[in-house]
């Protein structure tokens, strides 16, 4: 008579369970979506080489200003995360221990992203802001 009915441990009516699994899935979607739209624009701007050297150089010149430089850093961050997390998804799917270590692997992914960006960012930002 003293035991009150306990609330269910799992949220009802949703598949969203929070924590590393869900948030890495959200981040994978958001980065993938953003990269795809950049890719559409990127093929179009590269296609200007077929118009004339001047047209291509004009448009690519706009990529070299500081604001676009920061945008490129964000783009590379999105790509690096999507790449390493994609490899993690493959391991979750195909490695027999994958689901057991999915959480650890996300932290490995984040570590690799930090290391890769630590290598890329100083060099890129020097190219963008370092005068020319």
């Amino acid at each position: 008579m003293s035991t009150a009915p306990t609330a269910p441990a799992r949220p009802a009516g949703t598949l969203y369970r929070g924590r590393e699994g869900m948030w890495s899935w959200v981040a994978h979607r958001v980065t993938g979506f953003a990269i795809f739209f950049f890719l559409l624009v990127h093929v179009l701007d590269t296609s200007l080489v077929r118009v004339s050297p001047e047209a291509y150089n004009d448009v690519i010149g706009t990529y070299k200003n500081p604001i676009m430089g920061l945008g490129e850093a964000g783009l590379v961050l999105a790509i690096v995360f999507h790449a390493f997390n994609g490899l993690r998804i493959i391991l979750v799917d195909f490695w027999w221990q994958g689901t057991r270590y999915q959480r650890v692997m996300l932290w490995v992914v984040m570590g690799l992203v930090v290391v890769t960006m630590a290598g890329f960012l100083p060099r890129h930002l020097m190219n963008v802001f370092g005068g020319h």
Partner: protein, 152 residues
């Protein structure tokens, strides 16, 4: 009173294949494609970013001459062609999944997916044509904009 059929009773077998639909096959191929193309794209795109943004002067070196110099070699033509096709199909399939997940009305889904497929085909065809019909030394262009191997 309704009678519920005995679940253990023998039933006539369903005609046709045992699976309810063949739809799963296409989706399985798409699922596998995402993983196979993903691995290849990691190599292709990391290589692309390294050569274009890290090596030498990075982004400051990119101009018409830089692109012309790269595409003078079949190696980079094949690299970029593979990257274009794999990334576009990989990305289009990802966006297709997102549309299926969030666009609930049939008509919305059809419109969005049609736009996606048209854009994908246009960009793949355009990019492929550019890689193969590109002239690194277009006539009547200022020589200082062209790669050094162009005859004046």
């Amino acid at each position: 009173m309704t009678t519920i059929a005995d679940p253990k009773a023998p039933r006539p077998s369903r005609p046709g294949p045992t699976r309810r639909s063949t739809h799963g096959n296409t989706e399985m191929v798409a699922w596998l494609f995402m993983r196979v193309s993903g691995v290849i794209l990691v190599v292709l795109i990391f290589g692309h970013l390294f050569v274009n943004l890290v090596q030498g002067e990075g982004i400051n070196a990119i101009d018409f001459g830089f692109v012309a110099g790269k595409w003078a070699s079949p190696f980079w033509q094949v690299w970029d062609l593979l990257m274009l096709w794999l990334a576009m199909i990989h990305g289009a399939n990802g966006v297709r999944t997102i549309i299926s997940d969030y666009a609930e009305k049939d008509s919305t889904r059809i419109v969005l997916k049609s736009l996606l497929y048209v854009a994908t085909v246009v960009v793949i065809v355009l990019g492929t044509l550019v890689i193969f019909t590109f002239d690194p030394c277009p006539p009547n262009s200022p020589t200082d904009l062209l790669p050094s191997f162009c005859e004046r």
